[in-house]
Structure formats: C-alpha cells, structure tokens
Symmetry: C2
Subunit: 335 residues, 2 copies
C-alpha cells in the first residue's frame, strides 16, 4: 500500500476497502466489525443504555503519555463510566488529511486497540473520510460509545447536597500541560505526562465502595473549576474547595506559573470528580486510592448551602475567592 | 452572541455553554439532551440494537436539495434502516473552523432538526470542537446512530442467491452530480437536486411487503456499481444488471457525459438497492413505488450463479461488460 493517505482512500472504492481491510480491521478485530455491514448488530444486556460522543482534534497528535487514538477511546469510555454505565461498544470516525503518513495512522490505530482492550470495549463500526491537504491537521477522530446502565444507583448533576464531600481522583492539569508543552516544543527537566486513561475500572470500584455517590464528572475541557461550576449550578448548591488539598504536580505548577495558567482550568483526561455523601467519603477515597489511576485521590472540598451555583476556593494563605467557570479559551485543541 | 465562531467556543467554558444552550439545545430539543450530562440515558425496547457512524465532509456545505446537516442525519438513519433496524437516537459531533458563520451554523442545525423529525429520531448527545482558521473546510459533522433491530427478518450481504432479483429505488447519481455541479459553479438549465432523504419509512414498507428480502444497501460513495460488487463478493454470486432498466435522469446523464463520469459510480444519498427473492419482487417493487422516495423504483437485474463476485452490465446495444468496483477517486468530498 502507498505510505501516504490519498484522496482516493476516501472514495469508497478499492483503495478504501484495502485501507479498511489492512489497517482498521486487523487492529480492531471482532466478528461484528468484520462483517463490514452498514451497521453493527449488537446484543445488549437487559437494562437501559447510555450513549455519548466526542470528537478529538488534539494538537499535536502524539504527546507525552498518549496520542489522539488513546484519547479518542478513553475520553468516550470515561463519559459513559462517570454516568454509572459499563462501556461496551464504540464507533469510530476518521477524518484524515490527504498526505497523512500511513505509519502514523497505524500507530494511532494500534493505540486505540490497546486502550479499547484495557477498557474492555469493542470498536464495532467505523467510517473513514479524506479531505484535501491543508483542510485538517493530520487527522481528527470521532468516537461514540454505548454502555449499559448499572442498576440501583442514582447519579445526576442535580444530586449534590449540602454536607456532601467532593473527591478528586488525583493530580490536576497533567493532560493540558503535557499537550501544551509538546505543542510549544518545551523542553523541561521532567516532562509532564498526560494522564489519559480509561477510568471505568476505577469508577466501578468507587461505586461498589460508595453506592450512594451523587454524581461523577470527568473534568476535561475547562478543568476542575468549570466542572464544579456546572455541578453547583445544576444542583443549586454552593461548593467550597481547599487549595491545599488539591493535588498538583510540581512540574505542572511551574509550567502553569511560567505561562500564566491556573491549573484549576487546565484539562484532565484521566481524573474524576465525585460528590459523595459524607458518611461514604472515606470508603470512596480508599477505593480510589487502591486503584492505579487514583493513587493521589483526595477529598478536596464540600458542598455547602446558600449562594447556589457559586464555587469558593479557600486559598493556602486563608483567603476565600470565587472560582468562576472558564471565560475565554485557555488552551485550544487540547482534546 | 458573536456572529462568528471563535476558538473560545470550543474551550468548554462560558462561550461553549452559550453556544450549546442557544444554538444546539433549542433545535434538537428533547428531555434527554437537555440534561447536559456526560452521556444520554436511554431506554431501548427489548431486542437487539444496531449501531453505525459516518462523518460528513461534503463540499460545498449547501447544495441543491440539501446541506451537510440533512446529509448527516439521513446518511446515518439510512445505514441503520438498510440493516432492518428502526432508527431511534443519534449523536452529533461538530468540528467547526474558527470564523465560521453562526447563521450558517444555525441553518445547518435547523436542517438537522427537520431531517430528524421526518426520520422520527432524536439527537440525544453531542460534542463541539473548534479548530483554527484553515484547518477545516467550514465544518465537519459526525453522527452515530442507534436503532432497534426488527425481529423475524434476516438481512445480510452474504444472503443473495441465484435467481433473486435486484431492485433499485429510483434514479442514480443525483446526489453526486448535485454536489459536483454546486462545487464547480455549473449553471445548468434544470439543476439536479440531491436525493438526500431519510429512507427508513420506505424501507419499512418494503420489508412489510417482502419480508423475505435478503439484503439492502444504500449505494453511497462508489455508487451502485461498487455496492453491487461488494454484495456479489460477500454472497459469492454473480450479478447481471440491464443498462436499459437503470433509472437515470436526463440532466444527470448529460452532466456525466460532459465530465466523463459513469453514473453507476456516482454517489446516492436517497436510494437503496435491495435483493429480493423472485416471488416477492413484484410486491417489493409496488411497495417502493407507492412511497414518495421510491416512485422511480425498478427491477434492474438478477443474481446469477458462477463467477463469484462479478457484476455484469448488459448494455443497451446488447453487449455485456464487467462492472468493477470503483478504482480511483471519482468525486472526492461528496458526503
Ligand atoms: N476507520 C474504520 N474503522 C473500522 N471500520 C471501518 C472504518 N471505516 C470504515 N469501516 C467499516 O467499513 C465498512 C464500510 O464502511 P463505509 O463507510 O464504506 O460504509 P457506509 O457508511 O455504508 O458508506 P458511506 O460512508 O459512503 O455512507 C463498514 O462496515 C464500516 O464499519
Ligand atoms: N453540538 C452539540 N449538540 C448537542 N449537544 C451538544 C453539542 N455539543 C455539546 N453538547 C452537549 O453539551 C454537554 C456538554 O458537552 P461537552 O462536550 O462539554 O461534555 P464532555 O464530553 O463531557 O466534555 P469534553 O468534550 O471536554 O470531553 C453534553 O451533554 C453534550 O451532549
Ligand atoms: Mg451504507
Ligand atoms: Mg468528553
Ligand atoms: Mg461510512
Ligand atoms: Mg465529560
Ligand atoms: Mg453511510
Ligand atoms: Mg464532549
């Protein structure tokens, strides 16, 4: 096969079939996809289903700790998992720029395969389009995901109640800073790795340990600050978080300082925020910390009454300030 | 709101929320989407489900008879319907170029809303990313779709049997030629309209009338010729189609002649091919013709034994030639 993607690879003809048969099928291999029908025919266990989608336009495509392929699987898996669903099946849509390297495509596809394996999901249907040189930035990926809803839990962003505690599963800003550093060609002593990871296993452990959990979110674009603002508004409560309790890597903090970013607004791709009833918070924290992706988990604050929608940060020096939703664009094309 | 899309509209912060709340939610409105959770929680009737995806990169975004929004709904609805599923829910992912006109975005979203209404599907989850000026061509859309599989039918591209008849639901090449003409700024006497339409209603009527139908396909990229080649290969049969029986609009035929296209390879977005047992073919044809999208339906050929994978065209002047799968790219960015 050519070593570059041609416009003809998107035509639906012979080259397209070869691309599907030689690159996508062998990586994603499963009997449903292999039929190459117009749609995947799936059996879902009895119950309700969850459905979500994200497109990925991260720049650069490869960054320390991951690449767009891993991101495209994990991001969608995590959006299913935070809703309490068990992720089962993904679709994938590629939009590829003419001239893109076939070996980079293979690397990305391979990375999707590995992430899907770890998450226990199957890529069962796909699509591939090619656009002229210059009209995309290498490639863009969309994934959509289907999961089955776990019974007996009640998760909703409207559920947070005064007295609940707010848990964060680890350090913030790792993904955003890793991507930014790679984009700007920053050479730092200890490079920051993206935290991109499939969190469905950890989330499942958390639910087992704290079945009363009110709501979970993955603080992606807009970071922890934006996500907490959304939750506070949806639940008509206020929130108080403690600066000293929020885990931030030193390297992340220093890059943020240099560039004038606030880590609270920087995107994460391997973290969750969870609001948990006070009496289950210790169990929840223990469950998170026992998981490889939650080792640095912490209780970072609490849900409070009054001033619905407001989020307050108690600073290290004892002050308190309002943390608003992100206003402009801090870091574009981060996911 | 600004009248142009800014990078900050993709940041996940305030402007993003406004875009979602003011543009997408009001158009797609439904209680599931309105919750703005990370995932849509859905109830599916008992049975198996079908899942499919397509990305849409058509150029230009607006063309006679439709636009990228209508296409993005109909294309995915049709991929579910040809598999015998009742389409229920769609996801939508937008990748928008910085600077894109907000009023064009509203038009596209409105067109999606209308197509979804006609098809009887709901857009229940979405995502919006923005890339820098120049790195997309206005916008790209991905949709994924979920449907429930109809019981008691058995559709598969491996099912075609010698003796079966091949039905086509109407004129070929309308979509590809409409888009190409719009792209090239062709001014013709009677402009060709794209056939883009949701076909689930017509397909459901066809199944009622001919429950023994073996396989259906929407002959999109690569056209009727490529689709028949795929079916012939999958079923290990040959096929014979009659040039004189294949409905082609005069305008389409003349544009094809001028540009040296073969309408058999031009994309359709509102047509199906169906392979039907001989004794149900008349009922199937009647059902198609009674539907507004199938008025020009015809029996265009038959499934034959021997030479597995080969498709033959009996020409108007009595010759016979092999119709291969499309080789290069005939018309890029047609869907
Ligand atoms: N990147 C990919 N990864 C996995 N499977 C893919 C990929 N691209 C295409 N496929 C699979 O290849 C088959 C053919 O896809 P194709 O997009 O041609 O079908 P279609 O959607 O019916 O046509 P069109 O895209 O022209 O509407 C499908 O079964 C699809 O799932
Ligand atoms: N174009 C759109 N049409 C309909 N709904 C949309 C659209 N874009 C976003 N949404 C909805 O807005 C809400 C927030 O979407 P958002 O993409 O911010 O969530 P997320 O996927 O969790 O975050 P990220 O994309 O940063 O991973 C979701 O409920 C989503 O369904
Ligand atoms: Mg199809
Ligand atoms: Mg997401
Ligand atoms: Mg497709
Ligand atoms: Mg999310
Ligand atoms: Mg399709
Ligand atoms: Mg999203």
């Amino acid at each position: 096969m050519e070593d570059k993607i041609l416009l003809a690879h998107g035509s639906g003809g012979k080259l397209y079939r070869r691309l599907v048969n030689e690159v996508f099928l062998p990586a994603f291999q499963n009997p449903v996809l292999a039929k190459l029908e117009d749609q995947a025919n799936l059996t879902v266990p009895k119950g309700n289903i969850a459905f979500t989608t994200d497109s990925y336009v991260v720049n650069p495509l490869f960054f320390p700790g991951g690449d767009i392929g891993k991101l495209a699987v994990c991001g969608t898996v995590n959006d299913l998992a935070v809703g309490g669903a068990k992720p089962l099946y993904l679709s994938v849509g590629f939009i590829i720029e003419e001239g893109f390297s076939l070996s980079s495509l293979r690397d990305i596809v391979n990375s999707m395969k590995k992430a899907a394996e770890e998450a226990g999901v199957e890529i069962v249907t796909g699509d591939t389009k090619v656009v002229e040189k210059g009209l995309a930035d290498g490639l863009y990926i969309n994934t959509a995901g289907i999961g089955v809803t776990r019974e007996g839990i009640n998760l909703s962003s409207t559920n947070a109640q005064p007295g609940d505690l707010i848990l964060l599963s680890g350090t913030i800003g790792d993904h955003g800073i890793a991507v930014m550093a790679a984009r700007e060609g920053l050479t730092v002593m200890s490079p920051v790795l993206s935290d991109v990871a499939p969190l469905n296993g950890m989330i499942s452990d958390l639910i087992d340990a704290a079945p009363g959990v009110r709501v979970m979110r993955d603080p992606t674009r807009g970071g922890v600050a934006t996500t907490l603002n959304e939750l506070a508004a949806a639940s008509r409560v206020s929130m108080k978080i403690y600066e000293t309790e929020i885990p931030v890597r030193e390297e992340v903090a220093s890059v943020c300082e240099i560039f004038g970013f606030d880590p609270l607004y920087v995107a994460n791709e391997g973290k969750i925020l969870a609001v948990v009833p006070k009496d289950q918070a210790d169990d929840a924290l223990r469950a998170l910390r026992q998981h490889r992706y939650g080792r640095n988990a912490a209780i970072i604050g609490e849900v409070t009454a009054g001033n619905p929608g407001k989020v307050y940060l108690e600073t290290a020096i004892g002050g308190s300030r309002v943390i608003d939703m992100m206003a402009g664009e801090q870091l574009p094309r981060i996911c």
